[in-house]
């Protein structure tokens, strides 16, 4: 119950009295090295962001309104909140200022924008992240456990033999078996996607399936399947053009983190 109350937005306002008390009796300055968050917070205040940012002003007006008498004068409410040091003590104000500066710290100057050559190198360095795993396309003849009951295994064996002996095409509209909810034709799918739909044993078995031949039966949580793998695509590395958006944002993010670290170090040195 206490924790639930603690999460409730209204509780935050109800605790305003405590905050006010705290703001009038601020804790002594710490002598420990300032954290990154503290440095960013101080920078934001030094820059005046706490006076100009619209979100902060709204927050302070809300807090001021909680104790103010004239709720119509927004500037007065903000001033009241500041006199009560709520701009220093409110966690949401602190969070916002910190995050805005954090984002700012990670900005990459336009002069540093990457060339295509740099993006290509970055893509190569992150090949594992971008490589599309091997995929396969297959047709499956599904025999449901419920429909075949005790005959499931023997029926599957018979169907496999018939399909092989009569060289039945996987495109044949009259393939035997039951319909499958997600369809008879599947893919191209990665192994992970096959596993999510049919289970891991099924995905394992498909790794061993021959190309363009009836194979099986293969078990899934739903029953047995006779498989025809019609296409195997090897794992492939996409071109920069195909993944440019992801690469650009990945590059910018990585470079931004470097900048943020450098700027914090510089700030700490001051």
């Amino acid at each position: 119950m206490i924790r639930r109350l603690g999460r409730a937005p209204l509780t935050h306002f109800a605790l305003l009295g405590a905050l006010l008390w705290w703001s009038w009796h601020p804790a002594p300055e710490s002598t420990a090295p300032a954290s990154d968050a503290t440095l960013l917070l101080h920078s934001a205040r030094a820059f005046g962001l706490d006076h100009t940012d619209a979100a902060i002003r709204h927050r302070l007006a809300t807090l001021g309104g909680f104790v103010g008498e004239d709720a119509s004068d927004r500037t007065a409410l903000i001033d009241l909140a500041r006199r009560l040091h709520l701009d220093r003590s409110d966690l949401i104000v602190q969070r916002h200022l910190t995050q805005m500066m954090e984002l700012a710290a990670a900005q990459v100057p336009p002069a540093e924008y990457p060339t295509d050559a740099e993006l290509t190198r970055w893509l190569s360095a992150h090949a594992a992240e971008f490589t599309v795993p091997a995929r396969m396309r297959f047709t499956h003849v599904y025999l449901s456990r419920a429909a075949h009951g005790a005959r499931l295994t023997s029926d599957a064996a018979t169907i496999l033999t018939t399909l092989q002996r009569e060289h039945v095409s996987p495109q044949d509209a009259d393939l035997p078996g039951e319909p499958f909810l997600s369809g008879r034709e599947q893919g191209p799918l990665t192994r992970a996607a096959i596993e999510r739909s049919f289970g891991s044993a099924f995905a394992d078995a498909l790794e061993r399936a021959p190309l363009a031949a009836w194979f099986g039966p293969v078990a899934s949580p739903f029953g047995l399947h006779v498989i025809w793998v019609s296409e195997r695509r090897a794992a492939e590395m996409p071109s920069l053009t195909a993944v440019r958006g992801r690469v650009v944002h990945g590059w910018l993010h990585e470079r931004g983190l470097q900048h943020a670290a450098e700027r914090l170090t510089a700030l700490r040195a001051h």
Binding site: M1, A14, A46, T52, D53, A105, G245
Partner: protein
């Protein structure tokens, strides 16, 4: 007629449509088509309700990971999670990555520094902005370093010469870069797979979060593509316009009408905590229609409880319901906050719950002519840990940072929360356009966290049979899928409802649970305006004896790997508005809290549970609550899925016959349509209102707009003739109750139509009345035609 000829004709009529490739949506993005595209659609599992450190409450809870971490998590990565002391000592991952996700941080207090660079904005002349703009000339000024940090990407001189600014989807160099909103867009782009592998789709979104006195009127806004408004329109921005109308107005102006390619859906959620204020009465028919248009979906299940319905097992009462399965994952209070007291069933707000709200929507449609509450269903997490899609009861560690920072915190403080659910869409491929289109047409369903697959159709379906190879093709050709609307059938008989579900296959280490049964939930409104509901078991066995091993939580007893049935409503009344949705129930499994309590040495199944609890830390005192002692909690649960409803409307398009014919030369095409409205809509005024009729697939094939006053009356017949761009004649004939609409157009250009079997929509609109007929049309000779059922 010769028997052989009859046979040939019957084959022509009844054979399944050939599978085609044209989906009923246009591609709005620069991206590769997905290699895995299925015209009869496939299920994609996702979570479009995720909070990260950019949400003020999540930050307060100790969450320090951001949107990129959330997307990494959704694709299988591991992220840090706060403990009781806000230290990032815990970690989490999911064993089944999601197909799609949207980070939806609270837009409130995102920050507005970006407005500094917008001439004319209120913030433009403030000191901060002046500093920003002159920073390049003030290299030695105080705070130089800090100020330079605030210089956004390419502002004020966007480097448009760089290829990344002109060629890269999602990189908008004309916008300000320093804002949380920009960071969220960048994160979404970084994880969106635009290759033909289509492994993961992200959506840009945010949460709009008004909570007057703790009454949640929260909505997620999900955008179709990278074209989004310049700021995330929070409730602080939209409050003057009202809730939710202010949001609709703002999105209309800054997205839908902006001419940028922007489109969005709004998804209300957590109505169970809204104090009855989430779904308020529409002010008028236009207001009802706007809600139906802007808000096609509702989130029915999430961490903070289920919103479908409510039943108190100890009182033996429900909120307008006798459905005892509505004890599932209920929170206690009807809203949040210190004043949120325990509310009995009789005082629990009806509009906190989605089923009664849908019933009320039918009533509004009957009186106003428009249904404000025509919601499809999705599930979500509402995680505040960035743990997208972490919904496994077996491994859940909470979703609210330090509030759930340990087993003791989770059990002691948040026992009635749950892992939340998933959103599932039936889409052709895993891309933004395909999934967004599925959301708009409501071909979606919700799960309580597991991954069963669920199909639901209604219509004539006279040749749709479980076990038939052409089940899906026939169902799409002669009926509507979940989320659609249906008019009367020939003979005013009951529609047939086809339901097909397959169990969650699970994983190697955690096999999925068998299905127990399928239910159809019907709600309707009678002629007096009174609402009713009924829950019918249509497949499976409620008494299959399946349970769990209390020592291990392993399932005991069998259910079904799949269930399928075609059902007719024995109480169907063609004059009554109704909705039908499916609830698919799994066999019992252990609730998350059962495992956590057992690990703490308090076994909810044990006869001496109370003694165990007494010996354990106080936080675990509620571990022994069960069906005898608690209104809602149980050591076991039945995971479930909810299909979006299908709406039966007496005044919907019915018995549509038609043909689109392609001439040998451009401009020589023709179209003929004839359909019924069995009931005249209550707001129908052909003399006063404009009338539009359109035929669409991924493009507009044909569109006719009759201006207000354009229809001429001749006795019981209304007609409109147009002689520009071909010869077009529309006639509407009044019948004793309804009307017959006929269209003949010759010498027109229908080159936008795909010439293959594919989904086609016929839509009519007049005043606040809207009706839509969605079926697969077949390519026949030099034309297209729907099946005449």
């Amino acid at each position: 007629m010769q028997r052989w000829l009859l046979s040939v004709l019957s084959v022509c009529v009844l054979s399944a449509p050939a599978v085609a490739a044209t989906p009923p949506w246009a591609r709005t993005e620069t991206r590769a088509a997905c290699a895995n595209s299925q015209p009869l659609r496939q299920a994609f599992f996702g979570d479009v309700h995720i909070h990260t450190r950019f949400s003020a409450d999540a930050y307060i809870f100790g969450t320090r990971v951001g949107p990129r971490d959330a997307y990494d998590f959704a694709t299988g990565g591991t992220i840090a999670v706060s403990d009781d002391d806000e230290q990032q000592t815990r970690s989490a991952s999911i064993d089944r990555p999601l197909d799609f996700a949207a980070v939806t941080d609270h837009a409130e207090l995102f920050g507005e520094v970006d407005r500094c660079i917008t001439p004319g904005s209120p913030a433009y002349e403030v000191n901060l902005c002046q500093l920003l703009r002159k920073v390049e000339q003030t290299a030695d000024e105080e705070f130089l370093t800090t100020v330079s940090w605030l210089f956004p990407l390419g502002i004020p001189n966007p480097p448009t010469g760089l290829s990344m600014c002109t060629d890269t989807p999602g990189v908008d160099c004309d916008a300000a870069a320093i804002s949380v909103w920009q960071e969220m867009q960048a994160a979404a782009e970084q994880f969106y797979d635009r290759t033909d592998a289509c492994r993961f789709t992200t959506f840009i979104g945010y949460e709009h979060t008004p909570s007057p006195l703790g009454r949640h009127r929260h909505r997620n806004v999900i955008f179709r593509n990278q074209h989004v408004p310049p700021i995330a329109l929070s409730h602080l921005d939209t409050l003057p316009g009202g809730v939710p109308q202010g949001l609709w107005n703002a999105l209309d102006a800054q997205c839908l009408q902006a001419g940028t390619g922007c489109d969005a859906v709004i998804i209300p959620h957590n109505s169970n905590r809204s104090g009855g204020e989430q779904f308020v009465d529409p002010t008028d028919a236009a207001d009802a229609l706007r809600r139906q248009t802007f808000e096609p979906l509702v989130e029915i299940h999430q961490i903070k409880g289920n919103s479908e319905c409510r039943f108190d097992r100890l009182a033996g009462l429900g909120v307008g319901s006798t459905d005892d399965l509505c004890t599932f994952e209920q929170m206690i209070g009807a809203h949040e906050g210190p004043d949120a007291t325990d509310v009995g069933v009789n005082d629990f707000p009806r509009r906190n719950l989605i089923r009664p709200t849908l019933e009320d929507g039918l009533g509004f449609e009957q009186t106003l002519g428009a249904n404000p509450f025509r919601f499809g269903f999705i599930g979500g997490t509402d995680t505040h840990d960035a743990t997208a899609g972490a919904v496994d009861e077996r491994t859940w560690i909470g979703g609210q940072g330090r509030n759930d920072g340990s087993a003791a915190s989770l059990i002691g403080g948040n026992l009635r929360t749950n892992p939340g659910g998933l959103a599932v869409v039936w889409a052709e491929e895993n891309s933004r356009d395909a999934i967004f289109a599925a959301m708009k047409r409501r071909e979606t369903y919700a799960t309580s966290g597991t991954r069963p697959q669920l199909r639901f159709f209604a219509g004539d379906l006279s040749d749709v049979t479980c076990g038939a190879a052409d089940f899906l093709a026939r169902a799409y050709a002669t009926g509507v899928a979940m989320g659609g609307e249906l008019g009367p059938l020939r003979g005013r008989k009951s529609p047939r409802f086809a339901v097909w579900a397959m169990k969650d296959p699970g994983t190697a280490t955690a096999p999925g649970t068998d299905l127990q049964r399928l239910q159809i939930v019907k709600g309707w409104v009678d002629a007096s305006g009174a609402t009713h509901e009924e829950v019918v078991d249509v497949a499976g066995d409620a008494n299959n004896g399946a349970t769990v091993d209390p020592a291990t939580c392993a399932p005991q007893g069998l259910g079904a790997a799949e269930l399928c049935t075609v059902w007719e409503d024995p109480h169907f009344d063609p004059l009554q508005r109704a909705f039908y949705y499916v609830r698919a129930l799994e066999n019992p499994s252990c609730r998350w809290s059962t495992r956590v309590c057992q690990q703490a040495g308090v076994d909810p199944f044990a006869a001496d549970c109370a003694a165990q609890a007494a010996a354990a830390p106080a936080a675990f005192g509620d571990c022994c609550l069960n069906t005898s002692t608690d209104r809602f909690l149980s050591p076991t649960i039945q995971e479930r899925a909810w299909s979006s409803p299908i709406w039966y409307r007496p005044d919907a398009v019915a018995r549509l016959r038609g043909r689109v014919g392609f001439g040998r030369r451009t401009g020589r095409d023709h179209v003929a349509l004839r359909f019924q409205l069995a009931e005249r809509p209550p707001t129908w005024d052909l003399k006063r209102d404009a009338f539009t009729l359109s035929i669409t697939d991924d493009d507009t094939i044909f569109s006719l707009a009759v201006p207000a006053g354009g229809l001429r009356r001749h006795g019981k017949r209304w007609s409109y003739k147009q002689r520009t761009g071909g010869r077009v004649t529309l006639t509407i004939t009044d019948r004793p109750r309804g009307a017959i609409v006929a269209l003949a157009a010759n010498g027109i250009d229908l080159s936008n139509a795909a010439r293959e079997d594919h989904p086609v929509s016929v839509t009519i609109a007049t005043g606040v009345f809207r009706a839509e007929h969605n079926r697969w049309w077949r390519s026949r000779g030099a034309g297209l035609a729907p099946e005449t059922k």
